[in-house]
C-alpha cells in the first residue's frame, strides 16, 4: 500500500447537504491502470477535481508518491508529476500541436518562465516532435490545434500529458465524444502505455474499461462501493445492482 503512486485517503467533499465525495479512498499502484467507473452523478468529476487540485476537499488527503499534496495548488501538483487530460478536450487551440507539447516539456525545465527567448528552443521542438510521433501525430505537428479532428486532439492531450514525464496520469473520459475508429486507436495507445506510467482512468465506455483496467473502483453516490480486478467487480452483486445491471439491460 505505501508504495502506491497516487493514494486518496478518505477524501470528503460536501456541497451544502449533498455529499459528493464520501470518504473516498483509492490508490493507484506502480504500473497499473486503475479505472474509476460509476453512473452519472456519482461524483467522478468532483473527485478528479480534488485529485488535480482544482477543488479543495473538506476532509481527507491526497498523496503523490508518498508525499502529501493536499495543500498544493494544481500547477505544483502537475510539476510534481501528476498529469491529466480533460473530459472536454482542453488544449491551447490557437497554436500548433507542437507548441502545446513544447509547453509541457518546458514546464519541467528551470527556465520555464524565462522572460527572454531561449535559444535552446530547437531541442524542445525536436523532443515534442518525438512525443507527437509516439501518439501518431508525427505528421500533424505543425497544424494549428483548432484544425485538428476530435480524436487527434485526444491524442494530443495524451502527448502533452506524457511530455510532463508524470509519475501518474489522470485520464478523464478520454473516449468521450470520439468516433469508433479513433476510439480504437486511443484505446490501443493507452494500452501501449501500460507498465510505463500508472494511470487513473475515468471512463464510461465499459468495453474499453474492461479491456484496459488492471483494477476497477466503482463510485456510486460519492461512495466507493467496490474495488477489485475486472472479474471481481463484474461478479460483485452490489455493483451489478447499482450499476452494471442497467448496463446489462441496455446491451
Amino acid at each position: 500500500m505505501t508504495d502506491a503512486v497516487l493514494r486518496l485517503e478518505r477524501l470528503t467533499k460536501r456541497y451544502g447537504a449533498l455529499v459528493v465525495s464520501d470518504e473516498v479512498s483509492v490508490d493507484v499502484r506502480p504500473g497499473e491502470i486503475h479505472a474509476l467507473i460509476g453512473p452519472n452523478g456519482a461524483g467522478k468529476t468532483t473527485l478528479i477535481g480534488q485529485i488535480a487540485g482544482r477543488v479543495a476537499p473538506d476532509a481527507g488527503r491526497v498523496f503523490l508518491a508518498g508525499e502529501d499534496v493536499t495543500a498544493l495548488p494544481a500547477a505544483t501538483r502537475a510539476r510534481r508529476g501528476l498529469a491529466r487530460t480533460f473530459q472536454i478536450s482542453a488544449l491551447v487551440s490557437d497554436v500548433t500541436a507542437r507548441e502545446n507539447v513544447v509547453l509541457a516539456i518546458r514546464s519541467r525545465s528551470p527556465g520555464r518562465l524565462m522572460p527572454v527567448p531561449w535559444f535552446g528552443a530547437r531541442r524542445f521542438d525536436e523532443e515534442a516532435g518525438a512525443r507527437l510521433t509516439e501518439v501518431g501525430l508525427g505528421d500533424r505537428a505543425d497544424v494549428i490545434v483548432s484544425s485538428l479532428s476530435h480524436g487527434e486532439r485526444r491524442a494530443l492531450e495524451l502527448a502533452a500529458a506524457l511530455a510532463l514525464q508524470p509519475k501518474v496520469l489522470l485520464l478523464d473520459e478520454p473516449l468521450a465524444g470520439v468516433g469508433k475508429d479513433e476510439s480504437r486507436a486511443i484505446v490501443k495507445l493507452i494500452g501501449g502505455l501500460r507498465g510505463r506510467i500508472p494511470m487513473l482512468l475515468v471512463e464510461h465506455d465499459m468495453d474499453a474499461v474492461f479491456r484496459l483496467a488492471d483494477r476497477i473502483s466503482v463510485l456510486v453516490y460519492g461512495r466507493i462501493v467496490a474495488t477489485g480486478t475486472p472479474s471481481e467487480v463484474r461478479a460483485d452483486p452490489l455493483v451489478r445492482s447499482a450499476y452494471l445491471g442497467e448496463e446489462d439491460a441496455a446491451c
Binding site: A78, A90, V92, L103, A104, L113, P115, P117, L164
Partner: protein, 310 residues
C-alpha cells in the same frame, strides 16, 4: 514575404519616420505633440502586453501612468532633479502598486478583472486628489524639467523627443522579447486556455501578475516622460476615461500584434487633434469611426492591413 517579416518592416518604417521627424524642419509644436503621442504609445504598447497577449483587460492603466508622473513630479518639487532617479522612482512606484493590487486582481477574470482594475485605478486617482501638498486636483507645475547627468539638456524639446523615442523603442523591444520568450508563450497560452496551462504545471496567476507588473513599470516610465514633457502632473492624468482611451488605442490598432498598439495610439491621438480642429463636434465622427471599425473589420487596423496585403 512572411507575415512576421512584413510586420517588422512596418514597425521599422514607423520608427524610422519618427526618428527623422525632428530633423526635417517641422515646427516645434509638431515635435512636442508627436513626443506626447509616443509617450502615450509606450503605455498602449505596455497595455497590449496584458490585454493583447495576456487577455487581461485592464481599465486601470492610467493610474500607473499617473503614479509614474507623480513620482517624477514630486522628486523634482523636492529638489531631486536627476532624470534617471526620477525614471527609476516612477517605474518602481508603478511596479509596486501593480504588484500589490495585481496580486488581488489576477484572481479574477473577465469583466470582474476589468472592474477590479478600475477600482484600484480610482483609488490612486482619489489619493492624488487628496495630495494637497502637491497641488491636489489642480496638479503640480514643474517649474523645471529633470536634469540629465547634471545638465539641462532636457530643456530642449528635441532632446526630450529623442529620449522618449528611445524609451518607446526600448518598450517595444521589451514587449517583443517577453512575448517571444517561454514566459510569453505561457502568458498567451493562458489567455486561450488557463486550465490546460495549469494542468501543464504553470502557475497562471503568477505569470499574469508579473506580466501586469511589467506592463505597469513601462507605463510608469511613460508617466515620468509625460511629466517632463508637459512640465505638469495632475490627477486628470489618471482619470478612468484615460484608461479607457488606452484600451481603445490597443483594440483599434489591433491587440496582440507587432505594431497595432503603436498605430492605435497615433491614430486615436492624431484623430482627436485633427478632428477637433475641423469641428467642435468631432466626437460624433470619432464614435462613428469606432463603430465602423468594429463592424467592418476584424483585428483593428493591423487586421485591416493584413487583409489588404493578402
Amino acid at each position: 514575404m512572411s507575415k512576421t517579416r512584413r510586420d517588422f518592416l512596418v514597425l521599422g518604417l514607423m520608427l524610422a519616420i519618427l526618428a527623422v521627424l525632428p530633423l526635417v524642419g517641422l515646427p516645434g509644436w509638431v515635435i512636442t505633440y508627436t513626443a506626447r503621442i509616443m509617450a502615450f504609445a509606450i503605455c498602449a504598447v505596455a497595455l497590449d502586453l496584458v490585454l493583447g497577449y495576456g487577455g487581461m483587460v485592464s481599465l486601470g492603466h492610467a493610474a500607473f501612468l499617473g503614479i509614474g508622473s507623480y513620482a517624477a513630479g514630486i522628486l523634482i518639487a523636492e529638489g531631486i532633479e536627476d532624470f534617471f532617479i526620477g525614471l527609476a522612482a516612477g517605474a518602481a512606484a508603478a511596479g509596486l502598486y501593480a504588484l500589490a493590487t495585481g496580486a488581488i486582481a489576477v484572481r479574477t477574470k473577465g469583466v470582474a478583472f476589468i472592474m477590479i482594475t478600475l477600482a484600484f485605478g480610482q483609488m490612486a486617482f482619489f489619493v492624488a486628489n487628496a495630495l494637497s501638498e502637491y497641488g491636489g486636483s489642480d496638479g503640480l507645475t514643474l517649474w523645471s524639467r529633470a536634469t540629465l547627468n547634471g545638465t539641462r539638456a532636457l530643456k530642449s524639446d528635441t532632446t526630450l523627443y529623442f529620449v522618449i523615442l528611445a524609451a518607446l523603442v526600448a518598450s517595444l523591444g521589451v514587449v517583443r522579447l517577453v512575448t517571444a520568450s517561454p514566459f510569453g508563450a505561457v502568458l498567451r497560452a493562458a489567455r486561450n486556455n488557463p486550465e490546460r496551462v495549469t494542468a501543464l504545471g504553470y502557475d497562471v496567476e503568477r505569470v499574469r501578475l508579473w506580466a501586469y507588473v511589467l506592463s505597469a513599470v513601462l507605463c510608469g516610465v511613460a508617466g515620468v516622460l509625460i511629466a517632463n514633457l508637459t512640465s505638469f502632473v495632475s490627477p486628470a492624468l489618471m482619470a478612468w476615461q484615460r484608461s479607457g482611451e488606452f484600451i481603445v488605442m490597443v483594440i483599434l490598432g489591433g491587440a496582440g500584434t507587432v505594431w497595432g498598439a503603436l498605430a492605435g495610439a497615433f491614430v486615436v491621438l492624431a484623430l482627436e487633434e485633427g478632428l477637433s480642429l475641423a469641428t467642435q463636434h468631432w466626437k460624433i465622427a470619432f464614435g462613428a469611426l469606432l463603430v465602423a471599425v468594429v463592424l467592418f473589420t476584424r483585428g483593428g487596423i493591423a487586421g485591416l492591413f493584413d487583409r489588404s496585403a493578402r
